[in-house]
Each structure stands twice: as structure tokens, then as C-alpha cells.
């Protein structure tokens, strides 16, 4: 049997046994559910993106609102491109309802049947304030309708007027940092850090518990007469890593799917594929680093009760990375976030948050990844050495210095 097939046998066992546990399945379901719900959250708090507008008289305004030339009255839902806030490239749906007179408009507004009503090309009524986005749409439509009417009155052909007035909207270009997607990016960055925190912590704990289970029950004595320590350790890390990776992919698919379903997807910044690939890469690096550390530390003890205390150094490092990364979700452009996104193992959590939160030059990502790969390789070398020496020494806790010597 080759080394790799031994490792793969161990990995398969981990997947088969751990993947069936309630802990993993519940974590999988909850994380997917949470991310799915998060994708709907922005829409739940935003104003509606569809409006019902009453119009008294003024077929021209109706036509401008519905985008039709003949202004056929009736409940016609059409989409218009609103001149809303930067980058919000989405389309709002407007339903126009012709009304008999102002009294009918007031009644309908007070009954909450519509968001606003335009009366006789003179005023717009609302119960309270007109929604900002809707106001822009109505003013723009009013402008168009009145201009067309006045030009027609001056003797111009309405068709030519309409043609002349078809103007491409201005494209927004930022000369500084592109902040158009700031809100969406912040949301994604927060989701990323929550997901990575949960997945990395869970996977590292699974590794630690698995190591101690084998050591404490002395299965390791039988295992190590059949396979090498690196196969056992590597197989465990690979198997549990694949499980965590599957969980991450499910979260990404559910998250993007839910974003598409909720309409949030149109708010997503460009380069989402790159951001998601980066998250997977950083997850794998972070997982390799922290799970190897967890395995090495937990191999020093023989009982599950001791796992918590022996893992303290890893948890401190991990929590530290998490806190810096969490800070980075709020201040992705700050110097702290920038510097820490290069320092392993902090980078494994901070860099994906930064890339989600703001634009990061490729060379920075490359440099941070190279440093993290080097740190992970070092951790694997030291961790495997500690594990190999400590895992067979059952009984009292093994001193780290003895194991590494």
C-alpha cells in the first residue's frame, strides 16, 4: 500500500464517521440557513423596489412613467430605470393607476393602496413623505412629460421629440476608492468572517477531538503498527478538511442562490467569483494552519477533558485573528487591516475579509498568500513532529518542549 492510499483510507473514515454526526449535519444546515437568511436581510430593511402611483389626468405623465407613447390608461406594471443612488443598477417596478380626481387620490393614499399620487401635473400627494427613490422617478417622468408637451405645443413632431429626448444616462466613475458597493461589501465581509470563524473553529475542534479519541483509547497503538504517523495525521486533516470545505461550498452556493432569489445579487460588487475563490483558498490555508496546530497540541494530552486547556495557545491566536478580521470588516481600508492581512496566520482571516470589503491589489493578495503558505508549511513540519512523538505517549500530559526536541 502506498503512503497516499493509507492517508486516503484514514481520510475516508473521517468523512464517513464525522460526516454522519449530528454535530456536523446541524452545523451544515444552520450555517446554510443563516447565510441564506442574511442574503434576504438587506431587502427586508430597504424600502420597496416596487411602487404604485396614482395619476389624476395627465396621460402624458402616465406615458412617461410607463414608457409607452400612447399612454393607454390602466394598471400597467412596467420597469423604469430610476436615477437612484450610485451603482444601484437595479430597476424599480412602477404600477400606474389612473384616478378620477384628487379626492379619490387622497382616499387611496390614506388607505395605503398606493405610495404616491400625481395630480394634474402640478403636485404629488403622499401619506407623509414621498420615498426618495420614487420622488426622483416621478420628477424625472414629470420633466419628460412636460418637456414633450411644450415642444409639441411649439409645433414639433412628437415622435421626433421623443427620439431627441432619448438620452443615455450618465455613467458614474469614481476617481478615488470605489465606494459604490460599500454597503454590500461590508455585508459580505461580515458574513465571510462569521462563516470562516465557525467553520475553522469547528474543523479544528473535530481534529483535536479525533486526535485525543485515538490517543486516549489507545487505538493509535494499533493504527501506528499499520500506518505512519504522517498518514494518520494527514488523513485526519484531509478528511475533516474536505468535510469543512463541503460545508463552505454549500454556504457559498446557498448564499449566492439566495442573493439571486432575493434580488440582492444586483447589489453585489463585480468580481464576486474572484472573491469567492479567494475565500476558499484562504479557508484552506487557515484550516491547514490551525488544524495542524490543534492536532499537535491535542496530541500532548490523553483525555478529552484536557483538550480545552491544551488548545489555549491555538485559540488565542485564532481569536486574535478573528478580532482583527472583525475590525477589518468595519475598517477594511485601515492601516491595521492592511498590515495584519500580511501577517500569518492573521492573514488567513483578515485578507479574505479585506478582499470582500474593499478592492485589494493582486500583488498584496499574492504576497500575503505566499507568507501564509510558508507559515503553514512550517506549522505542518513542527506539528507533524510533535504529533509523531507525543501521540504514543499516553498517560500524563507531554511537555511541548519534550515533544519538539
Amino acid at each position: 500500500m502506498s503512503g497516499m492510499s493509507g492517508l486516503w483510507l484514514v481520510a475516508r473514515r473521517e468523512i464517513a464517521t464525522r460526516g454522519r454526526t449530528k454535530g456536523y449535519l446541524i452545523g451544515l444546515a444552520l450555517s446554510a440557513l443563516l447565510v441564506g437568511a442574511l442574503a434576504f436581510l438587506p431587502k427586508a430593511f430597504d424600502g420597496p423596489d416596487s411602487y404604485t402611483v396614482g395619476v389624476v389626468g395627465s396621460p402624458a405623465l402616465q406615458a412617461a412613467l410607463t414608457g409607452t407613447q400612447d399612454g393607454t390608461p390602466g394598471d400597467t406594471a412596467v420597469t423604469v430605470k430610476p436615477l437612484t443612488e450610485a451603482g444601484q443598477d437595479e430597476a424599480a417596478a412602477i404600477t400606474v393607476r389612473p384616478l378620477a380626481d384628487e379626492a379619490a387620490a387622497r382616499g387611496a393614499l390614506l388607505d395605503g393602496e398606493m405610495d404616491a399620487a400625481v395630480v394634474g401635473d402640478r403636485k404629488v400627494l403622499a401619506d407623509g413623505e414621498v420615498d426618495r427613490e420614487l420622488d426622483v422617478i416621478l420628477q424625472s417622468a414629470h420633466q419628460t412629460a412636460q418637456t414633450q408637451r411644450q415642444l409639441a405645443a411649439a409645433g414639433l413632431d412628437p415622435a421626433e421629440v421623443a427620439e431627441a429626448m432619448r438620452v443615455a444616462p450618465l455613467e458614474q466613475v469614481s476617481v478615488g476608492a470605489d465606494t459604490r458597493y460599500a454597503a454590500a461589501r461590508a455585508g459580505i465581509a461580515t458574513t465571510v468572517i462569521i462563516v470562516l470563524f465557525f467553520l475553522l473553529m469547528q474543523a479544528a475542534m473535530f481534529v483535536a477531538m479525533g486526535v485525543v479519541e485515538e490517543k486516549g483509547s489507545r487505538i493509535v497503538e494499533i493504527l501506528l503498527t499499520s500506518i505512519r504517523p504522517w498518514q494518520l495525521l494527514g488523513g485526519k486533516i484531509a478528511g475533516l478538511g474536505l468535510l469543512a470545505l463541503a460545508n463552505l461550498l454549500v454556504i457559498i452556493v446557498v448564499g449566492l442562490g439566495a442573493a439571486a432569489a432575493s434580488g440582492f445579487a444586483v447589489d453585489l460588487p463585480p468580481g464576486m467569483t474572484g472573491i469567492m475563490l479567494g475565500i476558499v483558498l484562504w479557508f484552506l490555508l487557515g484550516y491547514a494552519f490551525f488544524s495542524t496546530m490543534a492536532a499537535a497540541l491535542s496530541s500532548l494530552v490523553s483525555r478529552q477533558e484536557e483538550v480545552g486547556s491544551v488548545l489555549t495557545p491555538m485559540q488565542v491566536l485564532f481569536m486574535g485573528s478573528y478580532l482583527v478580521a472583525f475590525f477589518a470588516t468595519m475598517e477594511p481600508g485601515s492601516a491595521v487591516a492592511r498590515v495584519m492581512s500580511f501577517v500569518p496566520p492573521f492573514s488567513s482571516l483578515v485578507m479574505p475579509v479585506r478582499t470582500a470589503g474593499t478592492e485589494v491589489p493582486l500583488w498584496e493578495i499574492g504576497l500575503a498568500a505566499a507568507l501564509m503558505v510558508a507559515a503553514t508549511a512550517a506549522m505542518l513540519a513542527v506539528g507533524a513532529r510533535v504529533y509523531e512523538r507525543a501521540v504514543i505517549r499516553t498517560g500524563a500530559r507531554v511537555k511541548f518542549s519534550e515533544a519538539v526536541r
Binding site: T17, S217, R218, I219, T225, S226
Partner: protein
């Protein structure tokens, strides 16, 4: 052939092994006995590569015992270890695969073993749900699944009911007939005496006796004569050479030099000799004598 050659091991100030040597030949069942803490488990763990010796060597068929050789050994550690949450058949198969069996071969060997160890009905149960005795049988199955070329079993009989002992004895005897050297430790000396071709007695990290049970008897047991004389006058044996234990009709004379004919003559002179013969000490007695 497994050769253990002068193994030494210290833990700090404490000497665990101070020169342990013995040989287990192909097809031989070797019983390894000794008091708790005498060094049996340490020896077996060094043999299986779980521990490293400070000095000494373990040889397999003449060469140093390597990792690749050990993979073809069956091992049952002193402290039993199985995945509690894994199903019985899955677990035995898994260890078969780890030792190089193909998936089909592991499945076949597992089914066979579970049948022989009366575990077929529990094949789909989690190991943790089994009684300790049945878990022990699973542990044996794990040690045997890859048809090992040598067996190293630390206390394989402890915790087994008589039926399971019989099943295990049968399996071990069969492996021995196939030419496999079998080394096991046990505190059940009657079992060792019944089963083993050879016995090694370890005491305080040193081998104090090795050989067949008969050889040990000859060495340890010789020199004790049991004489039963009817109608003898009390105290007839008082003047005999050696240590005399007079229990009325039955007289034991220890420390006899020579063939004991003078004692026979004295007995015949004292009355009617009903029994005259060398004592055949049990392994337990030999053991007590050896470690004393």
C-alpha cells in the same frame, strides 16, 4: 521467528526492562507471564514499535524487525482501543484495509472472523453498544483480520467468558498450526500451562525462566518428593535429608539430591508405601518459585 534480544528500557530512575531475551519460533505458542509491572507490556510495546528500547534488538526471521514486517503482525494492546462510534464490521474492515487488504478481501475476512467469534448478529452495531466481552472479541478480530504472520497479544484472555476463551483458543491454535508464532501474555497460568509450547517468566524486568513447561518443571520442580506411607509410626520422616513437611500420611521432602532411593528405603522400613514420586508442580507453583 521472533527473537527478543536483551531489551533494556528505563523511565527516568525506574528500570522497566533490565535485559529481556526470548525467542518465539514459527508455530509456537509462547506464554509470557510475570507479575504486574514486571515488564511484559513494555516488552510487547517495544516489539510492536510503540516504544523504543534504550538497548537491545528485536529480530524477525533473522533480520531487524522493520515497520513493513510489523504491518503483517497482529497486535492486541493491553489497553483496548476501538472507535466506539464505528460499526463492528466497518471497523474490522477498516483495520484490514489499513493493513493492505483490498476492499473485497477485507470484507470477506471480516465476515469470516465475525462468524467464528459469534459476532455476526452484531456486525451493524456500534462498538460502544456492545458488552465489554464482545468488544474484546471485536478487538481480536481487528488483530486477526489481515491473516497476520505473527501474533502479539497482551492479555488476550482477560475479560472473556469461557465460550469466548474457547473460541480464541481455537483461533490461536489454528494460526499456530499454520506456522505463525504466537506470543501472548496472561495472568491465567492454568490456561498458559494448557496451551503453550513455551513459557517465559519475567520478573522485575528480567527473564527468570524460559523454556517448555516440562523444562521448567524439571528445573524448578525437581527435588520435591511426595511419599505416602500407611501404618507408619508418626515422625518416621524426621531424620530424612532435605526439608521435610510432614502432614501425617503425606510427607513432602524438598531439596532432595540424587535419585531419592534412600528416602524410599526409609519409607519402606517405616510402613507400606502407597505413593512415591517426584512432585509435578503446576505452572503457578513454578511461577511463585521463580519470582520469589
Amino acid at each position: 521467528m521472533i527473537e527478543i534480544d536483551d531489551l533494556r528500557k528505563r523511565y527516568g530512575d525506574k528500570t522497566a526492562l533490565a535485559g529481556v531475551s526470548f525467542t518465539v519460533r514459527p508455530g509456537e505458542m509462547f506464554g509470557f507471564v510475570g507479575a504486574n509491572g514486571a515488564g511484559k507490556t513494555t516488552t510487547m510495546r517495544i516489539l510492536m514499535g510503540v516504544l523504543t528500547a534504550d538497548a537491545g534488538e528485536v529480530r524477525w526471521n533473522g533480520g531487524p524487525l522493520a515497520f513493513a514486517d510489523r504491518r503483517r503482525f497482529g497486535y492486541m494492546p493491553e489497553e483496548r482501543g476501538l472507535y466506539q462510534k464505528m460499526k463492528v464490521a466497518e471497523q474490522v474492515e477498516y483495520f484490514g484495509r489499513l493493513n493492505g487488504l483490498s476492499a473485497a478481501a477485507a470484507r470477506g475476512a471480516t465476515a469470516d472472523l465475525l462468524e467464528r467469534l459469534s459476532l455476526t448478529g452484531r456486525a451493524g452495531d456500534e462498538v460502544g453498544s456492545l458488552s465489554l466481552g464482545n468488544q474484546q472479541r471485536v478487538q481480536l478480530a481487528v488483530a486477526l483480520v489481515h491473516d497476520p504472520e505473527a501474533l502479539v497479544l497482551d492479555e488476550p484472555f482477560s475479560g472473556l467468558d469461557p465460550l469466548a476463551v474457547d473460541a480464541l483458543v481455537e483461533v490461536l491454535a489454528e494460526r499456530c498450526r499454520a506456522g505463525v508464532p504466537v506470543l501472548f501474555s496472561s495472568h491465567q497460568l492454568d490456561l498458559v500451562e494448557r496451551l503453550c509450547d513455551a513459557v517465559g517468566i519475567v520478573s522485575a524486568g528480567r527473564m527468570v525462566a524460559t523454556g517448555t513447561v516440562e523444562e521448567l518443571r524439571a528445573r524448578e520442580g525437581r527435588g520435591v518428593l511426595k511419599v505416602v506411607v500407611r501404618d507408619a509410626a508418626p515422625g518416621w520422616a524426621a531424620g530424612l535429608p532435605g526439608e521435610v513437611t510432614d502432614e501425617g500420611d503425606e510427607v513432602l521432602v524438598a531439596g532432595v539430591d540424587g535419585d531419592g532411593q534412600e528416602i524410599l528405603r526409609a519409607a519402606a522400613a517405616a510402613g507400606t508405601v502407597e505413593h512415591f514420586g517426584w512432585e509435578r508442580p503446576s505452572l503457578t507453583e513454578i511461577f511463585r518459585e521463580a519470582v520469589a
